[in-house]
Structures are given as structure tokens and as C-alpha cells.
Amino acid sequence: MKKIIKLEGLCCANCAAKIEEGVKKLDGVKEASLSFMTQRLVIEAEDGMEDQVVEGARKIADKIEPEAEFKVLR
């Protein structure tokens, strides 16, 4: 399943790279990509792991860029 998350207010390109790196290492994540410009985090999660993955991503984003608002779009 593909999850799309918007990180509104993401304003540091290096943080974006760090968040992407962190999310990629989460259990149940097949592929992840965070575009600094569109502020969209696209995660390809294994079936059944979606909620866990989104929670994990939320924690990482909050740790690295607490200013950005974490919104699950789809």
C-alpha cells in the first residue's frame, strides 16, 4: 500500500534528507521518498503494516523537524 503524507512547513532541505533516510530504515517500509519541494512523503509500505509505518514516520519527522505539521493525505 502506498501512503502519502504531507509535511507542511518543512523548511530545511537537509532535514528532509534525514527524515527520508530514517523512514527508509523503518520496519515494513519497502520504499520511501520525501520531496523537499512538494513536502510530500510517499511511502510504499508492506500490506498490514501501514499504521505502524505511519506512526514510525510521524515520530521521525517530529524528532528532526518538529516545526513541520504531519498530515496523512492518503
Binding site: 523548511c11 530545511c12 532541505a13 537537509n14 532535514c15 528532509a16 534528507a17 534525514k18 527520508e20 533516510e21 521518498s33 520525501l34 520531496s35 523537499f36 519541494m37 512538494t38 513536502q39 510530500r40 510517499v42 524528532k63 528532526i64 518538529p66
Partner: protein, 622 residues
Amino acid sequence: MTKKQKKMVTRLSASAVFFILALILEKRSAFSWIPFLVAYLFAGYDIPLRACRNITKGDVFDENFLMSVATIGAIIVGSLEEAVAVMLFYQIGELFNDYAVNKSRKSITDLMDINPEYANLLRDGQEEQVDPYEVEVGDTIVIRPGEKVPLDGIVRKGNSTLDTKALTGESMPVEVAEGQAVVSGSINLSGVLEVETTKLFDDSTVSKILELVENASSRKAKAEAFITRFARVYTPIVVVLAVILAVIPPILLGGGWSTWVYRACSFLVVSCPCALVISVPLSFFGGLGAASKNGILMKGSNYLEAVGSLDTVVFDKTGTLTTGQFEVSEISSVRMTREELLELAVLAEHHSNHPIALSIKKAYGKEVDTARIGSVEEISGQGIHAQIEKDGVWRDLYIGNQKLMKACGAVVEQPTALLGTTLYLAETNQYLGAIVISDSIRPDVPKALEGLRRHGVKKLVMLTGDREEVGRKVGESLGLDEVYGNLLPGDKVKKVEELLSKKAPGKTLAFVGDGINDAPVLARADVGIAMGGIGSDAAVEAADVVIMDDEPSKIVDAILIASKTVGIVRQNILFAIGVKVLVLILVALGYASMWAAVFGDVGVSVLAILNAIRALSYKRED
């Protein structure tokens, strides 16, 4: 400017005032440290706070921490002036970054502002404003002037002009009338239209395009991956070097601590990777934006990079180089005028719906008198035998291929045309003439091919399922390098693989098709380019690059945009790394002050961003 940015401007202005005041007082008063400190706090009171917060969360090497250590270190060794300058300029740089990024984000969103908010659904004669998601296939919707077309459909009532600029980059409005298709995302300009929908909103062009554009930047280019990897090792290395610089030389040389700590602090200022990291995605984003403004949708920055180094371009023939529509291209008559010959053919073919009959009717363009058509007999695999009245006499007319001519005993007096299909006419056993129907080359093609050659494409190839000799003739007239005919879809994949193995190292191969039946080839090429993306889901799905209208010359624009973007990215990477390394060396040797370090951080970042913004602007050459 956002509220946050405005607040920052106020803070930085106040900081600057105190900074100048402190500089004036510096030589005259022992208390100049007070305005310096005030200036420092105005500019960056929140930076050390953030650093502390992030350290508790386990994120050590973040820029807040680096800046805090650098400036506090500078204050401790007595370089107040530099400490304030570093903080002030660092914040100005951040503010500028923020502003530039928001600005370019906004310009792209505006560009792609094609999402319709509602649809006027016609239900039992009543109009109702609904969410486009609620409209079913076959429903009727009303579109007024100024409104966006919310779903793909066919005009049932009314006519109007549509602005499709956001979709195709084409600024000429398109005329639509009853029975014609309209594409969602275009804007109705003049008349009221009643449209029967043919797709759900999710499958409509506008949804497909929005999804494509929004996901585009998630496929990253190699340069982007390189720069984030570089940043990951760069910062720790510079920090470690800074620590060594602060400790080892004073121990070895016995003293001079403040000099070396000062140099170490300058190192920390340069160690921030943000300038590097931000300018690369910003450039690619600008390039993708410039492309979509011109009706070229790219599915990722990686494809932008690939299009920038095209070496071989492989075209599909039908529907790509040619229009895919058959038209009468030649009429040769031996006993009457061409017009008369065409008229006879139209009369004989009147009842037929064969594509060839349709193109003859189209070429004639007038209604015929059906009273002049007598009995019509279709001879399978050969043509038509019909009784047609001409000049008051009923004639025994044969129209069809060479076999039919042989069968009726007529002698063909002309050579067969190579290109297209030839239709022969005979009266009883006397040959009358021939009509050649062929696929025509798109008017834009010669310009496109010339442009491709001029911009570095070495090899132009055409693949076709048509007869080899037909392909050759088209290939020769266009000046292509290689032509392969008689290919089944599977053969096309093999040919492309063969060509892929022959291209120069580091270069890429593009396949250009219309998205129909060539999905495997589009996928196999380095870059799959589909033309005529509007309304063709297959093309949008299978291709890496979608050209929204059917002008092959847009590939040239794609190359120009791509090379410009890739060039900017290279300049930024070289410039930023170069300046940073140079500053580090000069600082370590004591030839440069912390001011140079500020330039190495903020100055580089601002210049790189200004350069990146150039990627967004592209003018089509005519």
C-alpha cells in the same frame, strides 16, 4: 511573505541596527559588548534553544547546534563582532531560502491550478452543484464560460472555445462543438456547454495529470542522491577537523588557544550543508515546472537528468512521425479530370465504411447524388464493382486493388506508389486512373528532427510494423539514420535492446511512441516518451515523459530544459563544494577570517539558490 517571515524581518532589522551601533561604539567605549549582545540575541536567540531541544531528541549534528557552538565559541575568544555577523547573516540566509523556496513552490502550484472544485450536474432538468467525484459516467454536466471542465466527456449541446494552456502549454484556444470531446482541466471561454461525461473523476485527465505532477519529485535524480550522501559525510568530517584544529596545534605549539579556537569556530560555520542540499532539488523542481509549463510532463527528476544526455532517439512511425490518419495524397487520371475520377470513386464507395472509403469521402468533401448509384457488389479482397451514372450513361465501374484490375481485364498504366495504399479505377476493361491514400507526416516532424540533431542527438531511428519499403521511404524523406520495418510489438523491444547496447556510455536512449501498443518498449527505453497524452490513459501510465499535445518538437524543448537544469545543478554542486573547501583551507592556514566563513555558508547558499531559480524560466525558440 508569511507571518513567520515578517516577524523574522523585524527581528533581523533590529539586530542590524544594534550591530551597526556596536560597530560605531567599538573603538570608543568599553561597553560596546552590550549592543553586540543585544544584536546577537535579536538575530538568533532561538538557535541555541533549538539546538538543546534537538540534542535531547538525539539529533546532534544539526545546523542549530553547529551555529550555536560556532558563535558562542567566538564570543568566548572575544570575537564579538564576528559572532554577531555569523548569526545575523545566517538568519538572513535562512530567511532568503525560505522565501525563495515558498515562491517557487507557489509558482508551480499556480501553474498546475487545474483542479476543478465542482461540477454542475444536470439531473431531471435541474442543475445542481456537486463534487466532481459524485458524477457518474454518462451523466450530463453544464459548463459555463469561465468555469473549468471538471470531467472528460463529449459535448452534447452548445459550442465554445476552450483554453487548454494549463494542459498542453498551447496558448491558442481550441474550438469545440457538438459531438466533440472535451478534456478536464481546460477552461471554458465563451459559450455554455452541455457535456456527457465519459469517465469518472478519478480516471479523468485532470486527476491523472495532478497525480503525475505531484509525484514527480519523488523520483530523484542521481545528483540529488549524491548531494544528500555528500552532506551526510561532509558535516561530521568538518566538525571532527574543527575539534582537531582547536586542540592539537595549541598543544604542539604550546599556546595560542584563542587563535585556534577562532579558526575551529569558522570551520563550524562552513560545515552547514544546507546550501548544497537545498539548491539541487530546487533546480530540478524548477526544471520540472518549466517543462510542465510547456506541456511536457516528466515523471521524475531522474528523467530530467536522462533527457539531458540523449544520444539515440527511436521513433515509432504510425501516430508519432505520421498522423496515423489516412488521407488522399495523390490522384492520377488518364481519361478525365482528377475531380471527375474522385467523384466516380466516391459514388462507388458511397455505402462503404472502410477507412479507405472514408478518406476518399473526406477528400471529396461534398454530398453526392445517390440516384446516380446503381447496383453495388463487393468483391472480397479485391474491391467494389458498381453501376454508376455519368454524363447520362450508366457505367460498369471497378474500383479496388491490382488483382481486381487483372480480373476485369484492365491494364494498369502507372507504377505502384510505394507509400500507402493505391486504389485503381476501371470502366468495364478500360483503365481510368488511380488514387493513392497514405498516412501523412506530421508537419512538425522535420523541425523536430533538425532540432534533435542540433542539440546533440547522434542517432535517429524509426521502428514500424509496416512494410520495410514503406518505412524506408518515410525514413529517407526525413533523413533518419536507421529504419526497421515489419516489426511486431515484441520485435520492437528486441530492437530497442539492441540499440541500447550500442549507445555511447553515459548516454541515454529515448523511445517516442503514441502510447498505443508500445507500453513494453516505452518501459524498456531509458526514457519512454508518449505523445498526445491528452485523453490517452495508456500513454500517461506507461511513459516516463508525456507530451501533452502531438508536437514531436516538444522533445527538443524537453532536451533544452533538461540540459539547462542539469547544467545549473552541476554549477551549484561545483561552486558550493569548491568555495567551501577553499574557505576551509584558507581559514585553517589563517589567511581568512570568520567573515569568509560567513560567505562560505550564507553567500554560497544565496548564490546557489538564485542560480537554481533560473531553471524555472524557459523560453521556447521558434
